[in-house]
């Protein structure tokens, strides 16, 4: 099931290949769900199996000086999170190599898609139509609510929030800090040609156990990469209410880092 070209042995006993970041040929859009959720320790969705391949350098915390810390993970990608739970769109094998320097880790990812592109596109389109055909712009709070319940009308907005948050969590997570999406505090839809949402999401940070509030602007058209701009409050500081922002533009009005992916 996995790509057969596995990591090579290196003289130092490390089983990690140095490689480029995920290539543009592997775009991640809703419908081809959040692979990025899987790539960091701690940011693992429910049904992902996490295996550390047996190797001398993992998962000890005290690697010899000058050597890098290597993690290998197996990822299983889920499709259309809520719209069709438990369906796999594919699986990936990634190695994540943390160097002693402060630079971001080197990620090597190989994916096997089990759904074909056409199927994924169809699901994307269905999601798009479902959102477009709402009679009113989507607005909501506390998704899921305190009891874990999600209003059916808010499910598409939640699914997109999960995907967008996964990008944020990828960016934010480090070798020692991981994240999960704890709750969507608020969602507001901007009505224009795109699917565009403003979110306040709450991230659960481990192992600090902090709840981090982030503002996320998400823009999407099927067939295009998801656009995510975000800004997270620093610790112990509330985020200001974003209701004063201009309406409906995908142009960057948030100062945080943004991404197409």
């Amino acid at each position: 099931m996995l790509n057969s070209s596995g990591p090579k042995h290196s003289p130092g006993g490390h089983h990690c290949k140095t490689c480029a970041r995920p290539s543009p040929e592997q775009p991640i859009t809703p419908g081809y769900p959040p692979a990025v959720l899987c790539l960091r320790w701690g940011s693992v969705p429910e049904e992902v199996a996490l295996f550390h391949l047996r190797q001398p350098s993992a998962p000890q915390r005290d690697s010899a000086a000058g050597q890098s810390q290597c993690h290998s993970v197996v990822l299983i990608i889920h499709s259309g999170l809520l719209l069709r739970p438990h369906e796999n769109a594919g699986s990936c094998l990634a190695t994540v190599l943390y160097r002693r320097t402060k630079s971001p880790p080197v990620v090597n990812i190989k994916c096997m898609q089990t759904k074909d592109q056409k199927q994924i596109q169809e699901e994307d389109n269905r999601l798009y139509q479902k959102i477009r055909h709402q009679t009113k712009p989507i607005i909501g709070n506390n998704i899921p609510d305190s009891y874990g319940h999600i209003e059916p009308a808010l499910e598409p907005a939640w699914a997109l929030a999960v995907t967008g948050s996964s990008y944020m969590m990828w960016e934010k997570s480090t070798e020692s800090l991981g994240y999960f999406l704890a709750q969507v505090k608020s969602v507001k839809q901007w009505v224009n040609d795109f699917i565009e949402f403003d979110y306040t999401v709450l991230l659960h940070e481990v192992p600090t156990q902090e709840i981090i509030s982030c503002h996320m602007r998400l823009t999407w058209l099927p067939g295009h990469p998801l656009k995510v701009k975000y800004f997270c409050a620093s610790e112990n500081q509330g985020l200001e209410d974003g209701s004063g922002m201009e309406s409906g533009s995908a142009a960057g009005i948030l100062h945080g880092r943004g991404a197409n992916f």
Binding site: R54, P144, P207, T208, E235
Partner: protein
């Protein structure tokens, strides 16, 4: 709880444990089969962290299951002959109520600090086990604030004093959390294993697959106990739990109740982290509550049963170190993981 005691008064009694910061009364339930025998004790607490709502739900489920089935279920009947069950359904009452009314993701208790400008100590960093050494903050604004000193919090003191008094009779300490799907053993503050680690953890044997009919696990080798619990759990709905020492598979922390219970001499001390693995996290959907409780029930009763048979041998089935009898209901694939 009062109602439970009333309708099952021959088996259950409610007892005063202490008071919370906001002066609420903490009660535990004692489930005890009347008899002349001197019993040993299994302690279980839930709800030490306010936002982990599935945890108090499980304690309630557990009590309900025992009371509904103690007459008909031979396994329960057997261990109730020798063991009393002490259940604290909500340890952090103030925090729990705060999470209903004010902040769903609150974790700590509600003790005021800095003249009331900051609230809450992480009760699971407040116990006297390498207190304040690792995996904590000394800052009240942190979610892992360990308090002004070990056992600084009334909730911690209430539990610790009680358990200390009874420690020679307590065989097993269980504390229920969410989320993550783990069964964790001591220690969090060091990677040095406890003296009975082999028995707690299961020495390099991976149970890859187990189908259980519930009663058949006890013929396995003793050091599979914790793995047995995970296997029992998985047998129900296929939910996989990771098992291991906290400092190795999760992260380092100090002052946890589980570590403390073990250091004062309670041989079997486990933290359960229930569903899920992060998709919903603390806000687990209602349709998963029952399944989570059912599968956890199997794991907890597997542990209780093991403890019962270890300390009260006799009767039809003898658990011996070399016994590898597998019943028809159980199919297990064992592999040696040589590391």
């Amino acid at each position: 709880m009062t109602q439970i005691q009333k309708s099952n008064s021959e088996l259950v009694t409610q007892h005063y444990l202490g008071k919370t910061t906001e002066n609420r009364t903490m009660y535990y339930l004692q489930i005890s089969q009347p008899s002349d025998k001197i019993k040993k004790i299994i302690w279980m607490d839930c709800g030490i962290h306010a936002r982990e709502w599935i945890s108090p739900a499980f304690c309630q489920w557990f009590v309900k299951e025992i009371l509904q089935n103690y007459k008909s279920d031979p396994k329960i009947r057997r261990f109730l002959q020798n063991l009393d069950l002490y259940i604290l359904p909500v340890l952090n009452i103030d925090g729990y109520i705060y999470s209903w009314e004010k902040d769903r993701l609150w974790r700590k208790n509600r003790s005021p600090h800095m003249n009331g400008t900051c609230y809450g100590t992480d009760l699971n960093r407040n116990f006297n086990s390498s207190w304040g050494s690792i995996g904590v903050s000394y800052n009240c604004s942190s979610e892992i604030f360990c308090g002004s000193g070990p056992e600084s919090e009334p909730e911690t003191r209430a539990v610790a004093q009680f358990i200390k008094n009874k420690s020679s009779d307590i065989l097993c300490y269980l504390t229920i959390h969410s989320y993550g799907q783990y069964i964790l053993t001591p220690y969090g503050s060091t990677t040095k294993p406890p003296s009975n680690n082999e028995e707690l953890v299961g020495q390099h044997i991976h149970l890859l697959q187990a189908v259980t009919c519930g009663t058949s696990l006890f013929t396995l080798l003793p050091f599979l106990q914790r793995k047995m619990a995970a296997a029992a759990l998985m047998g129900k709905y296929g939910t996989s739990y990771k098992v291991g020492a906290t400092s190795l598979i999760l992260y380092s922390n100090s002052g946890s109740s589980r570590d403390w219970a073990h250091t004062i001499g309670i041989p079997f001390s486990y933290t359960f982290e229930l569903r899920d693995k992060g998709t919903h996290g603390f806000v687990l959907p209602p349709d998963q509550i029952q399944h989570t409780c059912e599968e956890t029930m199997l794991a907890v009763t597997a542990i209780i049963d093991y403890v019962d048979r270890k300390y009260f041998p006799g009767g039809a089935v003898m658990l011996t170190a070399s016994s590898l009898g597998l019943s028809l209901c159980l199919s297990v694939i064992l592999t040696w993981n040589v590391s």
